[in-house]
Amino acid sequence: MLLEARNLHVGYGDATAVWDVSLDVAAGEIVSVIGPNGAGKTTLVNAIAGLLRSRSGELRFDGSDMTRVRSHDYCSHGIALVPEGRRLFVKMSVEENLELGCYLPAARAARAQSLERVYGLFPILRDKRAQLAGELSGGQQQMVAIGRALMAQPRIVLFDEPSLGLAPTIVDDMFDIIKRVRDDGAAVLLVEQNVLKALDIADRAYVLEQGRIVTSGLPADILKQPHIREAYLGV
């Protein structure tokens, strides 16, 4: 397994937001975590990205115990985050945002190829590369956020609500891009409220409710469960 979480508890201050979560992502897989607002999806993904410390439990990435790794060393293991709300460096140019993605020496050595790859995926960013990231449209900002992650040459990309706040036509493009990221060789952990889309592209999926995994398995099987149909699809 590339990523293994076992009985992970994560929280803020006195409040625990994620309870006893176990989750796996294998190399080359797209794994979706779906669940309602406030279920703890972002908390979980931030803990896997190293932004938050887990209370207890195990987090392994390619055999390394990540609970002992410092936040700024997660990236060097091959974990890259496309955070909720994009969180670009809005006062910096598009290209500077991308360059931050290849800050670490190993990724920096491949800066030119990585930039070509990102501009190949998102040609519009090449035209806007000198513009401030904060001046771009929501969809373009999401492209920069994904591009920044790809610049790190990650082995897994964590997508946190990539479709949030985007126009419906762009949402389809985003999911195509996520598939391409996997086809190019990185594993994907996708956290989404857009249940149908997230299940559609996933190899496996987990359902997170009130901080706990309530069910997991193949997307087709999850879609058959009455509880899921009722709560998420309204049928």
Partner: protein, 283 residues
């Protein structure tokens, strides 16, 4: 109305004097803009450096450029030590004001204990040297100060924009967590920047020793003006700090020539208010 020559001379003297504002603002602007630490002791560090330059120069006859080679690295180390306290006690923007205010007072008292409250003047044969261009006198020391400030501001600006470390510092100032997720060790870089800020205070101190008369209470003289300069120049923007310094220097000097010297202190804050209200695009 004063003559054109007088006005021209006032403009030149003002811009050159503004170089000192810019130089002092540089370190302050960096730590405020990029680390969210407002370092009131910046001026005290500069004066400590000035007194050390004076001491080495008058008692040991060390030329200021040689003593700067000793003092500037020592100031860098003081910046690191100061940052260790910020780091250890997780000091935020507001607390940094209070803590560095107390540092400044401690340094002021220490200076007073050693050098007394008497005015000290470091006399050198070049301190009043000037040359003439047309009808205008150009003071040599101030010109060198401006060149040094210009090189530092330009170099720092380039460093922040062109190097990975500079970009990482700017990114971490916007969103430290996300910068860390891409490998930026913000803590380490913050030490570097605090050290640099203090080293810049050391460089300013060398020039203060040569240009100004030293007294412990002088630490506070430039506080108001330089704060205005930092804000007009935009936090964290080294070139902005330099240009704002020169703008305020020139405005003060012209106000002194046209109105009366008593008007000079009003100028910096009036300019600050005007620019904050106007908020021009190009800033």
């Amino acid at each position: 109305m004063p003559s054109a020559t007088l006005l021209g001379q006032a403009l030149i003297s003002g811009v050159l004097a503004g170089g000192m504002y810019g130089l002092l603002a540089l370190g302050l602007s960096l730590s405020w803009g990029l680390l969210r630490l407002v370092n009131l002791s910046h001026f005290a560090l500069a004066f400590l450096a000035a007194y050390l330059t004076y001491e080495l120069g008058t008692n040991y006859h060390v030329a200021p450029w040689w003593s700067a080679m000793l003092i500037v690295p020592a100031m860098f180390a003081m910046g690191l030590a100061q940052h260790w306290i910020f780091d250890k006690f997780k000091v935020n923007e507001l607390a940094s004001l209070l803590i560095t205010f107390s540092f400044a007072i401690i340094l002021e008292v220490a200076i007073q204990l050693y050098w007394t409250a008497d005015y000290r003047r470091y006399e050198t044969h070049y301190s009043t040297m000037s040359f003439k261009v047309g009808p205008f006198y150009i003071p040599v020391l101030e010109l060198i100060l401006c060149l040094v400030a210009g090189v530092l501001a330009w170099g720092t600006w380039l460093w922040l924009r062109k190097t990975y470390v500079g970009k990482a510092l700017r990114a971490a100032a916007e969103d430290a967590d996300i910068a860390a997720a891409y490998g930026v060790d913000h803590k380490k870089l913050a030490y570097l920047l605090s050290g640099m800020g203090a080293a810049y205070a050391g460089i300013a101190g060398t020039f203060i020793a040569l240009i100004a008369t030293l007294a412990p209470a002088q630490i506070w003289t430039w506080l108001g003006v330089v704060f205005a300069v930092v804000i007009i120049g935009r936090l964290g923007n080294p070139l902005g700090a330099l240009f704002a310094g020169m703008l305020i220097g020139a405005s003060e000097s012209i106000a002194m020539a046209v109105l009366s010297p008593a008007w000079a202190p009003v100028v910096s804050f009036s300019l600050l208010i005007v620019i904050l209200l106007w908020d021009p695009e190009w800033l």
